[in-house]
């Protein structure tokens, strides 16, 4: 089949390859076979309209929702950049009087394009270099992170949760494969047919599912941490199935489906948009109370772990928070309270809200850096 593709090596297909490289620099994951598919697709479409070309490339080169929607912008940008790059190449050629060979020309064009686009091939090196900082990073308080480190941290979190979820899928696999015959049930069921074994009943180890309810404080006092936590939750939700997520400051909002259905940045923007009190004051007690009245019935049972992320600074009544915590504590398997302030060696839980909630917490953890967060995840 190989020679087939060589015959397509025209100016145009070279441009498609350039487009693919351009898209890669924009974060698209494209392989050589994708390029082949794209070029292959082009020989099938009618060329009388430009949008056909765009649509064909869009459907072959984008692989997810995000890429699909951004494709048009990248596409337009590419062609305008390319035409500029080609112009500069033509000027070049006049000077050099056609001395460059075809290959060189192509290289020159790509270089020109590259400089136009500020394509820096050192991207990989950067990644490698920053990963060596990992050790330091895990001990650093979230507050002290620079923008760059923050991005790296996000990546780490993603990796961590992916690892966790993989653990789960392995469990499932083995249980599926080791189908063992349930003798007792098989005999009982077949007694009905006079004792001949006709139906075989298998059993497999029952899967223990992690059920999680996350309640995340997004008030001003938590501002520095909540972005992290939302990110963590986001990664979490995509790894596990049974997670319900709420954010609260002065009112409670269910954000599970938001996080499920959107890319992180969009989901985050929508959450802060929908929660008007984002980074406002906190009334933990009344929010927890809302949670109990509206959602407790469906969400809480003795298999559910409740994770509360808050610093415990409450502007409401202490008795309300105590009452609510009590009933959450009673109805769930475990209550874990993550308090970013607890990382401080001088910390004592004397914020009023924290104090009144304390008797109804199984585990109070700090989660102010990656190490402590890891420790909590192990407890789940």
């Amino acid at each position: 089949m190989e020679p087939k593709y060589i015959s397509y090596q025209t100016e145009f297909s070279a441009n498609i390859v350039l487009l693919c490289r351009f898209l890669r620099s924009k974060g698209f994951l494209l392989t050589a076979s994708d390029e082949i598919t794209a070029i292959d697709a082009l020989q099938h479409i009618p060329f009388n309209k430009e949008r056909f070309l765009k649509q064909a490339l869009q459907t072959t080169l984008s692989k997810n929702h995000f890429e699909y929607l951004n494709f048009e912008d990248h596409y337009t940008e590419f062609w305008s950049q390319l035409s500029k790059a080609v112009d500069s190449k033509i000027k070049d050629k006049e000077d050099k009087q056609n001395r460059a060979s075809d290959a060189q020309k192509q290289q020159a064009r790509f270089d020109a394009l590259k400089s136009w686009l500020n394509l820096t091939p050192t991207e990989d090196e950067k990644v490698i270099a920053s990963y060596s900082d990992l050790e330091v990073l895990t001990k650093k308080d979230f507050i002290d992170l620079s923008q760059e480190e923050m991005e790296l941290m996000m990546r780490l979190l993603k990796k961590m949760t992916r690892k966790l979820s993989r653990k789960k899928s392995r469990l499932k696999k083995s249980s599926n494969k080791h189908r063992t015959l349930d003798l007792k049930k098989t005999i009982r069921q077949n007694l009905r047919q006079g004792g001949d074994i006709q139906h075989l009943v298998y059993s497999e180890p029952k899967e223990q599912k992690l059920k999680l309810v996350l309640l995340c404080d997004v008030s001003r006092s938590m501002d520095l941490y909540s972005r992290f936590f939302i990110h963590l939750i986001y990664a979490f939700q995509h790894a596990y199935d049974k997670i319900e997520t709420f954010v609260f400051s002065t009112a409670l909002h269910q954000v599970t489906s938001l996080l499920n259905n959107h890319e992180f940045d969009k989901a985050f923007a929508m959450i802060s948009d929908r929660v008007p009190q984002w980074s406002g004051g906190t009334t933990i007690g009344s929010c927890l109370n809302d949670f109990i009245t509206d959602f407790e019935y469906g969400l809480l049972d003795k298999k559910t772990t409740v994770l509360i992320l808050s610093d415990g600074w409450d502007t409401g009544e202490a008795s309300v928070i105590r009452q609510s915590m009590k009933s959450i504590y009673k109805k769930s398997k475990k209550v874990i309270w993550l308090n970013p302030l607890a990382g401080n060696p001088n910390f004592s839980p004397d914020a009023l809200g924290m104090k009144s909630a304390l008797p109804y917490i199984d585990l109070l953890a700090s989660a102010h850096n990656l190490d402590s967060l890891k420790a909590v995840l192990k407890q789940l």
């Binding site: 994951l29 479409i45 009618p46 056909f52």
Partner: protein, 297 residues
């Protein structure tokens, strides 16, 4: 089905009363031409599954549907031996004392093979449409199993041998993004994102699906739905909800919307109690935007 024209696909979708735009037609066209699976994603109720049904109808071929769910495994997707049937067969044969090897080959024959969707799809005489619905609900394990089938187009059954396909099925995968699909499966597919339709497209869909609807009512419904989707709802209603609603109102011989009517029938389009409560609160504002004048009672 080589060398069909793009316009034909567009016409084909149109003929089967599927209102599409050119991006949808292009994706369907290319997936047929390049013999690659088409992965369709988008919010619930915008007609992802419908594409496969329409394709099957238009190509006059079978639609084989594999509905994915958590815990779906290869015995439900590929094949299974009909154990009970085999046992009975053996019992009957016992009296006749046939020789063992013959008996063995007879019980592992086509007759006792329960073909599940994927095996069905590759043993057809004419390329069928294989719809793998809500792939994101299946486990990752199943996903990788699917990769194997999608690349080789053959299934090995130890007792019989390898079954290779003669007519490659057209494959449509759909997903609601409940879970991120693996890069591996995305790489093998063409991709199409279908969003909520704009006003004109939705109106065209309603007219097609509910032909006897009052013209003004149809416009009002689409306008209202458009505004409703702008609200921040837990579960945004899709096109199928619009169609249901239009059908309901048309069957009541309504000519136009009003506040009371909307309040009474809100359950047709919204399926979440919080959404209903929120919408009821902002109904007047919504109606203003839509331009519906309430009757004065």
């Amino acid at each position: 089905m080589k060398d069909i024209k793009l316009e034909r696909i567009q016409k084909m979708l149109q003929d089967e009363s599927y209102i599409s735009d050119s991006a949808i037609a292009m994706s369907v066209f290319l997936s047929m031409q390049l013999e690659k699976p088409l992965l369709i994603e988008g919010p619930a109720g915008v007609g992802k599954t419908e594409i496969a049904k329409v394709m099957a109808q238009a190509l006059d071929t079978n639609l084989i549907r594999l509905q994915c769910y958590e815990g779906l495994d290869s015995t439900h997707a590929l094949y299974e031996w009909n154990y009970q049937h085999q046992l009975l067969h053996l019992k009957i044969q016992e009296q006749k004392e046939k020789d063992v090897s013959k008996l063995e080959s007879s019980i592992f024959s086509d007759k006792f093979l329960l073909k599940r969707p994927i095996l069905q799809a590759i043993t057809q005489d004419k390329s069928p449409v294989l719809l793998i619905d809500e792939i994101d609900r299946a486990d990752e394990e199943f996903e990788s199993f699917l990769l194997e089938v999608l690349s080789d187009w053959q299934v090995t059954i130890p007792e019989i041998g390898t079954i290779e396909t003669t007519h490659k099925p057209y494959i449509i995968l759909t997903g609601n993004r409940t879970r991120e699909l693996s890069e591996a499966i995305r790489r093998r597919c063409l991709y199409l994102w279908i969003d909520y339709p704009d006003f004109e497209k939705e109106l065209a869909i309603i007219k097609m699906k509910v032909p006897d609807i009052d013209k003004k009512l149809g416009e009002q419904i689409c306008g209202f739905m458009k505004e409703l989707r702008e609200l921040k709802l837990e579960k945004t209603p899709g096109v199928s909800e619009t169609i249901d609603w239009a059908r309901a109102l048309a069957s009541m011989n309504m000519k136009h919307l009003d506040k009371q009517l909307i309040e009474d029938t809100l359950g047709v389009i919204l399926k979440d109690w919080q959404d209903i409560r929120n919408t009821q609160n902002s109904l007047s504002e919504l109606l203003d935007k839509t331009g519906v004048v309430s009757r004065i009672i």
